[in-house]
């Protein structure tokens, strides 16, 4: 996938670029408004991640520009401001998602994947991981062609795991993905543990290998590797 990152903070940009390239994407970057406009003019991207507070312009203008020339591009806004107004304006202009700083790379990754699925395949593509296959349009999970009954949170959890396979995900990252701001860090740890335990049990019951590995002190990793 071709991704453009527009971000004025160099170290943040570098981390994001490295991460997304490791995920197998072709990543370009722009650190100023002007640079971003040029790149948007010259090339086509599948997804653009844009920080709306740039030193020399408002990222919202880039979104307008993007939408004029390419209807199908996925747009994710990144902002230090958790402002409802900006969020609404951004989404009105045609952005797909809004992420508040600070965010986790796993979260950004999950959002990009979700946007790309919706944009490129109208959400009709199946997500597969070894023996697991997921149809996002009706949120159905199959293992060996057998339906697994998952709760909404367990489904989200599985999707997050698969989007970030082979990565260590700490409990707090998982908690933030599942609950957002509605749950404080402190409450969620053993709660997350219970959710993961239940999900694991349901997957194993259907004859699925135990993909969820615990990394002590770090978190969980979803992998086919032993």
């Amino acid at each position: 996938m071709k991704i453009l990152l527009i971000e004025d903070e160099p170290s943040l940009l570098a981390s994001m670029q490295r991460f997304l390239e490791n995920e197998g994407n072709i990543v370009s970057s722009a650190s100023t408004f002007q640079q971003a406009l040029e790149k948007v003019n010259d090339y086509d991207y599948d997804c653009v991640v844009v920080d709306i507070t740039l030193p020399d312009g408002n990222g919202l203008a880039i979104i307008q520009d993007l939408k004029k020339r390419n209807k199908s591009v996925g747009i994710i806004i990144v902002s230090a401001k958790n402002s409802l107004d900006d969020r609404l304006t951004g989404l009105d202009l045609g952005a797909d998602d809004y992420l508040t700083k600070p965010f986790h790379l796993a979260e950004l990754n999950a959002r990009i994947k979700s946007v790309l699925r919706r944009r490129l395949f109208d959400g009709k593509t199946k997500i597969t991981f070894d023996v697991i296959s997921i149809s996002p349009e009706n949120q159905q999970v199959n293992i060996h062609d057998e339906i697994v009954e998952l709760t909404a949170k367990e489904y989200e959890l599985l999707l997050f795991f698969i989007s970030n396979k082979n990565r260590i995900l700490s409990k707090s990252i998982i908690a933030e993905h599942l609950w957002g701001d509605s749950m404080d860090l402190a409450d969620s740890h053993d709660f997350i543990y219970t959710h993961i335990k239940n999900l694991r049990k349901k997957l194993i019951e259907k004859g699925c290998p135990d993909y969820v590995k615990t990394r002590y002190g770090a978190g969980y990793i979803f992998t086919e590797k032993p």
């Binding site: 508040t100 600070p102 860090l185």
Partner: protein, 421 residues
């Protein structure tokens, strides 16, 4: 007690004293002058008697007299009494009651005889006039003072009007409100001075306050980016394959601490924004629906902690509020009720007649209940909490003038939060 009443009390007490003292002094003074005048009358009377006596022939030793005044008697020639004034009382012949009398006694020597002459002058009437006069003056004085006070009262109301106008403005003054309170020019110099000084003071405070708010907001925004950088770096470190478990634990601790900073920062920013009234668009929010949605969100969390939630929600309870803040308000109260509940405890959630009540089981607060809504007040058993949740609740309630009330029932060990509008 109001100033005019106090003034009136002090003035009337003082004037009562002055009136009493005045009446007595005046009475004494009039009495003095009256006696002086009477003495003059007696002296002239005596002179008349003396001249009459000196003209008397040798064989006549008495003057024609009907009321024994002057009283003349013959004494031996070697007695010589200098004129002497005395006061005495005699029974009045007409009124039959004792009446004060001034007496002048002296010896008068004529060529033939030596007379002892006594002239008298009753002065009860004069005394009466003196008393009436002094009491009259005292009463007039009191009436005058009373009228003055009455006038003062009326004038006071008019004069102090600007003062109360200024007080009303001060009372309505809210530092967080953007609209500026204007203290107008007053015609009374003193009040004008007060008004202008207050105007300058509030302007200065307002500016300081705005600067501070701006600083908080800017600082919070600026902090988010470095936090994001640290967070991403920590995350990529976490992914490295050959880290020992000990280092992973350290990384995890840092990540969590960082997340807490971020959460604190977000909460503080939210508080500042609410204070700044940056959430302007209030819409009609169906609180019943909102509450049900949030209960749904937190249901699994409550179940996880084996807490039973009892609800009694009246449909379509509407509140005019920013929907995002409404969610935070109710969400924070619910979260609170779950987090500080006992294991296998209960939550009673009622929304009826524009009143939301959320109560949960729990131990008595380890601090005074007035501190509950203050920033950074935490339960010692929950040091990981930000201590801002209820402060945000209060800020939102203040912003929309909602009544927020907390109560602890020791008998059932139940904490109850009530929000009504």
């Amino acid at each position: 007690m109001r100033l005019p009443i106090k003034t009136a009390i002090y003035l009337s007490l003082a004037s009562l004293f002055i009136a009493f003292a005045g009446v007595f002094t005046l009475n004494w003074f009039i009495h003095k002058s009256m006696i002086h005048e009477i003495d003059e009358i007696l002296v002239s009377h005596l002179e008349l008697v003396e001249s009459k006596l000196k003209e008397l022939p040798k064989n006549q030793i008495s003057l024609l007299d009907i009321d024994d005044n002057p009283h003349v008697e013959m004494v031996s020639p070697n007695i010589n009494i200098e004129p002497i004034f005395t006061d005495t009382t005699e029974i009045d012949l007409v009124l039959h009651e004792p009446t004060p009398i001034r007496v002048l006694k002296t010896t008068i020597a004529t060529p033939y005889h030596n007379f002892l002459v006594t002239v008298k002058q009753p002065y009860a009437e004069f005394e009466e006039i003196a008393t009436k006069l002094s009491v009259g003056v005292g009463v007039c004085f009191l009436v005058l003072i009373f009228l003055m006070l009455l006038l003062n009262f009326l004038v006071y109301r008019q004069l102090w009007k600007p003062f109360y106008r200024i007080i009303d403005k001060l009372r309505a003054y809210q530092i967080s409100k953007q609209s500026e309170t204007i203290f107008e020019k007053e015609s009374t110099e003193e009040f004008n001075l007060l008004s202008q000084t207050l105007q300058q003071m509030t302007e200065r405070i307002g500016q300081q306050f705005r600067l501070q708010k701006q600083f908080t907001e800017n600082a919070s925004h600026e902090i988010q980016t470095p936090i994001a950088v640290i967070s991403l770096s920590l995350d990529s470190l976490l992914q490295s394959e050959n880290l020992p478990e000990k280092d992973l634990m350290e990384l995890q601790k840092s990540t969590e601490a960082l997340q807490k900073i971020s959460q604190l920062n977000k909460s503080l920013l939210l508080l500042t924004k609410i204070e700044n009234n940056q959430f302007s668009e209030a819409v009609q929010v169906d609180m019943s629906k909102l509450l049900e949605n949030l209960l749904n969100t937190y249901q699994t969390f409550a179940e996880h902690r084996e807490i039973t939630i009892f609800t009694n929600i009246q449909a379509y309870q509407v509140l005019s509020i920013n929907p995002y803040l409404a969610e935070i308000l109710v969400g924070n109260l619910l979260k609170n009720a779950i987090r500080y509940n006992q294991k296998q405890g209960t939550i009673h959630c009622t929304l009826q007649n524009n009143k939301l009540t959320i109560s949960n089981k729990g131990e008595v607060l380890p601090f005074a209940s007035e501190q509950l809504f203050q920033r950074f007040v935490k339960h010692p058993n929950h040091p990981e909490s930000t201590g801002l949740g209820l402060a945000i609740v209060r800020q939102i309630a203040e912003c929309y003038a909602l009544k927020l009330h907390y109560e602890f029932n020791a008998a059932t060990s139940e904490h109850t939060f009530e929000v009504s509008w």
